[in-house]
Symmetry: C2
Subunit: 356 residues, 2 copies
Amino acid sequence: MNLNEIIAKIKPADADVARLARERLDSLTKPQGSLGALEDCAAKFAAARGDVFARIVKPVVLTFAGDHGVAEEGVSAFPQEVTPQMVANFANGGAAINALAKLAGAELKVIDMGVAADLAPFPGRKTDRVIDRKIAFGTANIAKGPAMSREQVTEALSAGAEIALEAVGNGSTIICTGDMGIANTTPSAALYSAFLGIEPKEAIGRGTGVDDEGLVRKEKAVAAALNANRSTIDSGDPLAILAALGGFEIAGICGAILGAASERVAVVIDGFISGAAAVAAFKIKPETMDYCFFSHLSAEAGHKAAMKALGAKPLLDLGLRLGEGTGAVLALNLIEAALAVMNEMATFAEAEVASG
Amino acid sequence: MNLNEIIAKIKPADADVARLARERLDSLTKPQGSLGALEDCAAKFAAARGDVFARIVKPVVLTFAGDHGVAEEGVSAFPQEVTPQMVANFANGGAAINALAKLAGAELKVIDMGVAADLAPFPGRKTDRVIDRKIAFGTANIAKGPAMSREQVTEALSAGAEIALEAVGNGSTIICTGDMGIANTTPSAALYSAFLGIEPKEAIGRGTGVDDEGLVRKEKAVAAALNANRSTIDSGDPLAILAALGGFEIAGICGAILGAASERVAVVIDGFISGAAAVAAFKIKPETMDYCFFSHLSAEAGHKAAMKALGAKPLLDLGLRLGEGTGAVLALNLIEAALAVMNEMATFAEAEVASG
């Protein structure tokens, strides 16, 4: 199935199941609505899957990695060599996402979409954890022109979708997204600006920890990227905008979201970078949002404005700013909790409790 | 050990371990501080336990139940008979706390501290889940005088401490608190008012769902309780204030917090009611706060002002307003995640990653 077919296959979630799910939640032994966002999660997951009693099966984390030409603008506190070093760390099991995915019972797959270094072979213990889908050794510098060609972004989207569909084929009913890529808060901010009309100054943040001067450089880089790609942005073509301002890993995440949604599989969106990919997916196909769970509000300053513009209410607000999928796998437990409530609680009638 | 000895035994957390924990967190392969509140949790748990690499062992949920004389003021959307019905539901495994504790791998114990009905024998499958420590068939009406006598509050605190110490004796390194008691947001609001100087109007909320008239009755009941117990409140004696305005289950929770802290065991505080018990524990012995993790910001309106006055930053904000310990067991996963990070991640040196 090609990308256009996958996109065409994405349908709205099941409204009847959503209604039945709300009815069941209201019949359970608790004041109506007293489990707040958990109830919203339970109803949304049920509607996405088309089954009031749907559960999480074989959760996976897909962490897409790529490098960015815009790193040369001095927008990151860390050097670009950290991207392949962290991919090796993922392979060896030493990163935060390894620890958190393990706790969540989620399998981690790391996809090299465009790391600016030759990764293979890994010295580590778990090289099968890393999938090679490298499109190029990093994107071009968005401050000077498009990050990717149309062919490249299509390849990245298709690869992401294919990897998500592979997980679905293995039985997964939920996919967590994650990213690794030095400098990737800058293209993400540019995407938020272009897609949601957020000013560059409001869309950026300190990323992994740039100082005040670095922050000024980021704002300039985003503004330059919007200028350099103005005609593409004005075209309103979401794929072209993603190609112009995105990154290989961002497009990979976007493809994974589209692929999962096409199979009515839920997607847990990580933070700032995955959120930018989700906005692109929303622009490509709005119905995609019926399958997306926004896991956390990032400490990255621009994320709040972006989530507000998108109408998304992230589940967690823990001051996280790491990426990798760490926020997404943390939220997995909340969604599991929501489904445990839906599936395991007694109704007022069953428990012979007065319903107020 | 009597209550005074338990209170005397509570010492501050280990500042040296807190420092070592922060050093280790800063050495792990992530930008410093990028895991936000998780890093705070990891350092706090380590300092509480006196061990940088401390883990969660045998988590338990202690859900204390009791009834309230103030229910006669019409402050709850549910009738008082729901308290014993819900205790039976806990015993039978049908409540939200059953589903969520199971997911969290936490054992649930329900303690009848003062339910206004004879509970035994249960028709249910799991009667050993409910512990009988009934002090009376509900408290007196706080709107007219003290809820409990000095003897009763001491008995309730001692019972809570004893039950926590029993869990500690069984190897638990973390205890989640929970409550069940129709009308118990009203005494909790009164405690927040008396202990933290919050106006009754700011301290209350809709509880399980009272209408506008019920909300007015709650405000009046809290104001009446503060008037009826004015001299006790002015005495500044925390035990006397807890006796005057609290409830058997609130005092039980407070005792459990004190008992756990005396053994350097962490306590996850649930929402509005457990928070009021935590404030009482703080007033009795401020060092207790070194062991308390505030799990979530309740949808109950007064909770925000109370947490702010206490200087506490709850981990979750999901619009929960159920009690039972549901928010506490949800937060357990975040604390476990924090400890997984501390214990399982590689350092920059180990992973050969450039540290910026």
